[in-house]
C-alpha cells in the first residue's frame, strides 16, 4: 500500500473529520477562486467592452472621463480631420446629456441622451427597426422601449438637460426609428440616441458641434499606437487614449480597490485554509502517535510516515479544491448579480471573469496550502521519538 493509498484509508477511517476538512477547503477554495476572478475581472471585462464598441482610441478635452469633463468645442470638425489621417479608419463625435421623456406621468422618464456625428458606424447595435437617419429621429434601448411602451415609428417628446445648471428647455418631438443595444447601458438604465445635430437642437440649438468624446477606430495596418501619435500631433490640445491606456488608467484608479480587497481576502482565506487543515491533521496525528511509532518500530522510514501525512493533506486540499470550482462558479454568478446592481455599472461589465490564469493561480495557491498546512504535522511525525512514544502510549 503506497503513501497515497494509506492516506486515503486514514481519511476514510474518520469520515466526519475528512468531510469537515474537505468541505472547509471547498468553502475557502470557492472564496479564494472568486477573489482571483475579482482581482482582474473588472479590468478584463472593461477591456472587452471597450474593444466590442469597435473603437480603439478616445479623444477628450481633458483627462477627465467622457461625460464628466469639459466638452470638446469643435468636436465635429475635429472628428472629420481625424478621420482623414492615414492611420485612422473612422471617427465619431459623441455627446452625453440627460433628458426626461414625457410619458404622461408627473415626473416623466429620466434617461441618458446621446448624440453622435461622424464617419463611422454608430456605437450601438440595432435590435429592431432601423438606425437614425436625417431628421428628428432617435433610437432607444430596450428598457426605454419597455417603459415607454414605444416601438419603431412611435413619437416621443423629450426635454433635454445638457449642462449641470438648471435649464428649462422646451420639449422636442422625435420619432423612434429603432430599438438598439448600447454597450455601456446599465442594467435598468434607459438610453435615447440621436444625431449630434438633433441633440444640439434639443439642447437649445447653440452647441451642435460640441462633444464629450471623439471615438476613433484605427486602421488595422497602422494599429492604435500609431493612430494615438497621429491624433496627438494633429490636435495637441486634446487628450488621446488608446483602449489599453484607458484600461491602465482604470487599473491605476478605481479598479485598484478591487485588487486590494481581493488580495486581502485571498490572504485571509488562505490563512484560514492552512489553519483548518493544520489543526485537523495535527489532531488526527496526535490521536495516532502510538500507531505511527509502532510503524516506525516495524521499519517504516521517517520519509514514509512523512509522506503519509503529506498525502493526507493533498487529498483533503485536492478534494476540497475540486469542489471549490463549481461552488466558486456559483458564488461568482450570485455576487456578480449583486455587484452589478451598483448604479452606473454597465450591464455588460462583469466583476468576476473566468480566465485560465486565475485557475492556474488557484491551483498553485491550493497546492501551496497543502504543503504549508502539512508542515507542522509533518514536523511532529518526523521528530517523533519512537521509544518514548511507545512507552508513553503504554503508560498512558
Amino acid at each position: 500500500m503506497n503513501a497515497m493509498g494509506f492516506a486515503w484509508r486514514s481519511l476514510v477511517r474518520q469520515p466526519a473529520r475528512a468531510s469537515l476538512g474537505v468541505l472547509g477547503v471547498a468553502a475557502v477554495g470557492a472564496l479564494l477562486f472568486d477573489m482571483l476572478l475579482l482581482s482582474q475581472g473588472l479590468v478584463i471585462s472593461m477591456r472587452g467592452l471597450l474593444e466590442r464598441t469597435g473603437f480603439d482610441l478616445r479623444v477628450t478635452a481633458t483627462d477627465a472621463l467622457p461625460g464628466s469633463g469639459p466638452l470638446i468645442p469643435d468636436a465635429v470638425a475635429d472628428a472629420r480631420a481625424i478621420a482623414t489621417l492615414p492611420s485612422v479608419r473612422s471617427a465619431i463625435a459623441l455627446r452625453f446629456a440627460n433628458a426626461v421623456v414625457l410619458d404622461g406621468s408627473a415626473r416623466g422618464l429620466y434617461t441618458s441622451f446621446q448624440g453622435v456625428e461622424g464617419t463611422a458606424t454608430h456605437p450601438w447595435t440595432i435590435l429592431q427597426g432601423r438606425d437614425i437617419g436625417g431628421g428628428a429621429e432617435v433610437v432607444i434601448n430596450e428598457n426605454a422601449a419597455t417603459r415607454l411602451h414605444a416601438g419603431p415609428g412611435a413619437r416621443i417628446m423629450l426635454r433635454a438637460s445638457c449642462t449641470n445648471e438648471e435649464q428649462a428647455l422646451p420639449p422636442v418631438a422625435f420619432t423612434v426609428a429603432g430599438i438598439a443595444q448600447f454597450p455601456f447601458d446599465t442594467l435598468n438604465g434607459t438610453t435615447v440616441a440621436a444625431s449630434l445635430a438633433q441633440l444640439g437642437e434639443a439642447c437649445g440649438g447653440n452647441e451642435s458641434s460640441e462633444a464629450d468624446v471623439i471615438m476613433v477606430a484605427s486602421q488595422e495596418s497602422a494599429g492604435p499606437d500609431a493612430a494615438v501619435a497621429d491624433v496627438a500631433k494633429l490636435l495637441p490640445g486634446l487628450r488621446v487614449l488608446s483602449n489599453a491606456e484607458a484600461v491602465n488608467r482604470f487599473e491605476r484608479g478605481g479598479f485598484t480597490y478591487f485588487r486590494q480587497i481581493s488580495t486581502v481576502l485571498t490572504t485571509v482565506t488562505l490563512a484560514f485554509a492552512v489553519l483548518l487543515i493544520t489543526v485537523l491533521l495535527t489532531v488526527s496525528i496526535n490521536q495516532r502517535l502510538g500507531e505511527i511509532a509502532a510503524l516506525r518500530a516495524l521499519g517504516f522510514s521517517r520519509w514514509r510516515v512523512v509522506a503519509d501525512v503529506f498525502c493526507e493533506s493533498v487529498l483533503i486540499v485536492g478534494g476540497g479544491g475540486l469542489l471549490s470550482l463549481p461552488l466558486g462558479g456559483l458564488l461568482a454568478v450570485g455576487l456578480d448579480g449583486i455587484l452589478k446592481r451598483i448604479p452606473g455599472i454597465p450591464a455588460d461589465v462583469h466583476f468576476f471573469v473566468f480566465q485560465p490564469s486565475a485557475l492556474q493561480l488557484h491551483l498553485l495557491l491550493l497546492a501551496a496550502t497543502a504543503v504549508i498546512a502539512a508542515l507542522y504535522p509533518i514536523r511532529i511525525v518526523a521528530r517523533l521519538p519512537i521509544a518514548a512514544t511507545l512507552r508513553d502510549e503504554v503508560v498512558g
Partner: protein, 231 residues
C-alpha cells in the same frame, strides 16, 4: 543472517542515560548481552528498571548513550536513521502490549503492510500473508478489522505482522499484558512455536509464567542485569 560467531545481537557495556530537568536518569547501565539464533530470552524486573529501554535498544529504535551494539555484525550506532529503519524492517519483528494494529486495515492488510514497505512483490506477499494467518490460526478472520477481533486475536495478528518479513529476532514488550490468563497462555504458546521455528525471541514481561517458558531469564534492577538464569 548472523555474525561469524553466530550472534544476532552483541551488546557490550551499553548504557542509556536520559537527560531530565532534575538531572540525568540512567535507564540502562553497563549491560552486556549476546543474542543468538534460537534464543528464547525473558527480561524481568520491577517497573522502571529499564526493561523496555533495553528492548528498544536491542530493537534499534533507541541508541545507547555509550557502549557498542552490533546487529548482525554491524555497528548500529553508526547507521543512519534510514539504515536503521531498513534493518528493523528486514531483520527485527516487534510485538507491543497494545497491539498497535491499524484500525482502518483488515487483519490481512495489517500483515501485508510491512511486506509492502519492504517492496515484496504483490503475489508473494499475498501468499506470505495467507501462510501467516493460517500459522496464527486466523485464516477465517483475514478480512476482519481489528475492531471486529478479540484481544487475543489482535495480538495474534500483531505477531503475524511482526513475522511478515521473516525477521531473525522477534521482540515482544509485555505481549500478554492486556490479555486474560487463558488468552495470554495461547499467545505464549504461539510465541513458543515462533521460537521453535527458528526465530530468536526476547520478551519483556512481568508475568512469571511467561518468563519461565524462556531458556534464559534476565532479571533487571536499576538499569543493570542483576541475574541471569536458565528457564
Amino acid at each position: 543472517m548472523t555474525t561469524a560467531n553466530g550472534q544476532i545481537v552483541a551488546a557490550t557495556h551499553i548504557s542509556r542515560i536520559f537527560p531530565m530537568p532534575a538531572g540525568p536518569v540512567t535507564a540502562v547501565a553497563d549491560v552486556t548481552l549476546r543474542i543468538a539464533p534460537g534464543d528464547h530470552i525473558a527480561i524481568r524486573g520491577p517497573s522502571g528498571c529499564g526493561k523496555s529501554t533495553l528492548l528498544h535498544i536491542l530493537g534499534c529504535v533507541e541508541t545507547p548513550s555509550s557502549g557498542t551494539l552490533l546487529f548482525n555484525g554491524n555497528d548500529v550506532t553508526r547507521l543512519s536513521d534510514r539504515q536503521r529503519s531498513l534493518l528493523r524492517l528486514r531483520s527485527i519483528g516487534f510485538v507491543f502490549q497494545r497491539f498497535f494494529l491499524l484500525p482502518m486495515l483488515t487483519a490481512a492488510e495489517n500483515i501485508e503492510l510491512p511486506q509492502s514497505e519492504a517492496n515484496v512483490p504483490k503475489a508473494e506477499r499475498r501468499q506470505r500473508t495467507r501462510e501467516l494467518l493460517e500459522y496464527v490460526g486466523l485464516a477465517a478472520r483475514a478480512d476482519h478489522r481489528p475492531s471486529e477481533l478479540s484481544g487475543g486475536e489482535m495480538q495474534r495478528v500483531a505477531i503475524a505482522r511482526a513475522l511478515a518479513n521473516r525477521p531473525g529476532l522477534l521482540l515482544a514488550d509485555e505481549p500478554t499484558g492486556e490479555l486474560d490468563r487463558a488468552t495470554g497462555e495461547q499467545i505464549a504458546a504461539l510465541l513458543d512455536r515462533v521460537n521453535a521455528d527458528g526465530t530468536a525471541l526476547v520478551i519483556v514481561t512481568h508475568d512469571p509464567a511467561l518468563a519461565e517458558r524462556s531458556t534464559r531469564v534476565l532479571t533487571m534492577r536499576d538499569g543493570r542485569i542483576e541475574d541471569e538464569t536458565a528457564g
